[in-house]
């Protein structure tokens, strides 16, 4: 995959060329009537790989003690050299495919220079001139729009620096230094804070579904920079400002709204918007200037002389394409085709989106996979009812998530079979399910049914008849009323039978037997 060769084609490209201001008809927005909002988003998504982008260090989470996942390369020791992690490339390609982007036959790595304490080498390795993928798109079904993806590039994350003002020191943790990131750059195709929010949420679900990123915004594994500009409807786009480092969809939407209102207010007073980089203060709900265009640093980009160009051929891309997990839209369509209701599909997908994302593209097993396994050879609608109504319902009642579900696929499968075959009643089935959740037993439902004497009797109704005669004897008044033709009262007698059978009797059978005996 890696070519050996040193030739490079270099072109300076304008990172944010805004060629096609897309042709959507402007929608009136009561927040800024007469104005149109234009939004583009750069998402930095940490690649969910076991090791770093260019070194053998393991990835870390918030529990990892500081500076323990660091090898000499991560700390920029002299004499160390980068070695590209093929897993990161694979996840980048998966992401590109999921975004309908063109994986580039040849991409390359560049150095972006700046001095900061959490950047030990003094440069970040990124793909400034030749990104791994270009020209993708992400469809936002809810808004009925398609956002063009300009490019996807691989790059290194930085370490973390924490200021301790009391001691006048800054603490550096290099655990994150050198982890792989995907920078996913959209074209300025969004027109409202809501579309921007939907874009990030859809992208989040997509990345999770292909296993390239865990979508965890709170922990910083997905971060957004947002470009915002406003223009009067029908006029060309205005001057944009970039809002940096937004770590939640909610705050991002608030930040865009605040920024739009700020820009509109300026323009309405005849003051031009200055192109600048801004931060967002969540508490005060306002953006503030970080640096002006003139103050922008010169990163002195240079092709990295240590890393040969990354050559990706179609065989490699096709191999990955053939092993691609289903994307959310495809999963939705497939489940609907099985006859599941829209609501059931959304419940399954929603629970599924909370599943664990494994390292190096190993796909976590979520609610959809669970459903698929249980539904193999069974009626999908029955299975989805058991999962969404009974299992998820009971888990919710117990304040547990699907991740904590102790019920194996075999247990769920056999339970559905027992009930379908009439070997236990629905009521008993629910009892068995609750029993499994509370005892976390690995016993099969058939064994539990035996232990708890929940199996329906298969003695040709002898036991049922016995329970019914006992009930009639115990409730002579009600029995007489039924005999007189007051059929509503039969339910009362049935309840007695059900109690005696501890739910193992089938209601329909009990009713039939009682009516026969009380003719």
């Amino acid at each position: 995959m890696l070519a050996y060769g040193r030739t490079r084609l270099l072109t300076r490209c304008n990172h944010w060329a805004r060629h096609a201001h897309s042709v959507r008809t402007a929608k009136q927005d009561s927040r800024w009537p007469g104005w149109e909002l234009v939004i583009g988003i750069e998402v930095h998504a940490q690649i969910k790989s076991r090791r770093k982008l260019f070194s053998e260090s393991h990835s870390s989470d918030l529990t990892t003690p500081p500076n323990t996942h660091v090898v000499p390369f991560d700390a920029a020791f002299p004499g160390t050299l980068p070695r590209l992690n093929p897993k990161c490339v694979e996840l980048g390609v998966r992401t590109a495919i999921a975004l309908n982007a063109e994986v580039q036959t040849r991409s390359a790595f560049d150095r972006k220079h700046y001095f900061y304490a959490d950047l030990p080498s003094g440069y970040q390795i990124t793909q400034q001139y030749a990104p791994i993928a270009r020209n993708g798109r992400l469809d936002l079904d809810k808004d009925g729009i398609s956002v063009r993806i300009k490019q996807v590039q691989l790059e290194q994350d930085t370490g973390k620096s924490t200021s301790l003002p009391r001691n006048r020191i800054t603490a550096i943790d290099l655990n994150r230094a050198g982890m792989g990131l995907m920078e996913i750059v959209s074209e300025p195709d969004m027109r409202s804070p809501e579309e921007a929010g939907n874009y990030v949420r859809t992208l989040q679900a997509l990345l999770r579904s292909v296993g390239s990123n865990d979508g965890n915004m709170e922990q910083g594994s997905l971060r957004c920079d947002v470009n915002v500009s406003v223009n009067r409807v029908g006029e060309p786009p205005g001057t944009r400002c970039e809002i940096k480092n937004l770590n939640s969809v909610k705050f991002m939407m608030v930040a865009i709204t605040c920024e739009a209102l700020r820009q509109v207010a300026l323009l309405e007073r005849g003051i031009p918007v200055a192109q600048e980089t801004r931060g967002f203060n969540e508490e005060r709900a306002e953006t503030y200037s970080l640096r002006s265009k003139e103050g922008a640093p010169d990163y002195r980009y240079m092709p990295d002389p240590n890393i040969p160009p990354l050559l990706i051929d179609s065989t490699y891309v096709n191999a990955i394409r053939s092993r691609m997990p289903d994307l959310p839209d495809a999963t939705r369509a497939r489940l609907r085709e099985l006859g599941l209701s829209r609501r059931d599909v959304e419940v399954l997908m929603d629970v599924d989106s909370g599943r664990e994302v494994g390292f190096d593209g190993e796909l976590g097993r979520g609610a959809v996979a669970y459903f698929d396994e249980v539904a193999r050879g069974r009626d999908p609608k029955t299975v989805v009812n058991w999962i969404t109504h009974e299992l998820l319902g009971q888990l919710a009642f117990r304040n547990e998530t699907f991740k904590e579900n102790p019920m194996s696929i075999e247990q769920m499968g056999e339970l559905v079979d027992l009930v379908q075959a009439g070997k236990v009643t629905g009521t008993s089935g629910k009892t068995i399910l609750r029993h499994i959740l509370s005892t976390r037993t690995t016993d099969l439902p058939s064994e539990i049914a035996d232990d708890l004497k929940l199996a329906t009797s298969d003695d040709d109704g002898a036991l049922l008849e016995k329970w019914c005669r006992e009930a009639i004897a115990a409730l002579p008044q009600q029995a007489e009323a039924v005999r007189q033709g007051n059929l509503n009262v039969v339910n009362k007698v049935m309840g007695h039978v059900m109690k005696a059978s501890r739910g193992t009797a089938k209601a329909q059978d009990v009713r039939t037997m009682l009516l026969k005996l009380l003719q």
């Binding site: 050996y4 040193r6 050299l81 080498s121 002195r300």
Partner: protein
Amino acid sequence: MLENFHSPFDATVVSLLSASGAEIVGKTNCDEFGMGCVKDSSLGTDTGGSVRLPASYCGIIGLKPSYGIISRWGIVSFADSLDCVGVLARDVSTTKRVHDIIGVYDSRDPTAAPPHIRQKARQLIEDHLETLKGDSLAGLRVGVPQEYFPTELQPSIVTPVRTILDQLRARGATIVPISLPSTPYALSAYYVISSAEASSNLARYDGIEYGMRVEPPPGANLTKTANVYAYTRSQGFGKEVQRRMLLGTYALSADAFENYFLQAQRVRKLVKADFDRVFCIPNALNAPSTGPVKPVEGVHVLIHPSAIQTAPALPDNEGCSQEDDTSTLDAYVQDVMTVPASLAGLPALNVPAGKGADGWPIGVSVVGQWGSDDLVLRVGEVIERCREDL
């Protein structure tokens, strides 16, 4: 900058030599970023001539192998795309012995030529040259590039070079005058590229993770990280290193990038193309050419003077303190004969060629196509014997 720094790991070349039973006796002092040495021979990095020039001035063998043949893992980078581990020794056979031990593929060096490329280069040489037997050079075509006899060249250097060419001809070699027209631009391109890469590579010496650190004085403006680093970097780097970093930083700045860095890369391509045009052996790094076979007038190796002069005198005390621009420029011109092979990544070997008018040693360089290190050493050995015959 790295005075009290001890690396937590060994360079691949050091591990390989130790494993083969070599005794590592000490580390020599190079100007600011140098390397270790072994008895009978020593290693050094050659970015633009730092092995070949000293060898020429001292009258010993100095080899800069093909780029990518010897692992750079553990080597302090100056300019990654040019840095090579070179070998200095009294004779060619020792040089070859060391080169054979350390010239193996190392997956820790991403710029190392993988085994199949090395094999391809060997095959291409075999395809284009009958094995040379004994002292006979029958069938070998030696190119002499006219651009390597510039006006700066000391006249006393020409005669010994001519003598060697005569002796090679006497042993059956064909001497062919050739032209490498991009040579005059190579030096400027070299200084732009090497300084740019150095400015990038030396950014890591900031006094945080390792090495020397100068604490900012009380009351210093610490609002920017760069302000904190400046104390360490101003004191830790010498004048010449600082000069190169400033030059390189400028070459990479947005305004200068196109006219300096990219222009230098274009020149580098031209220099490579020059060499590929004169060699009859194709470059194993290029995509396989489907075109017609190279014309027979192509040469197997090149020979030219290694330096424009014998060892320059150390500046006297006055000159030293003056640091005037002329002396700096003079020092840069020293590299004019060695940098083209560095830019093209080709193997180049200095072999002693006698004495100049001032009685100090002079050397000739044998330069070959990429991967033909063995051929270059083989020709060097013959030159060595020619000298013994004198």
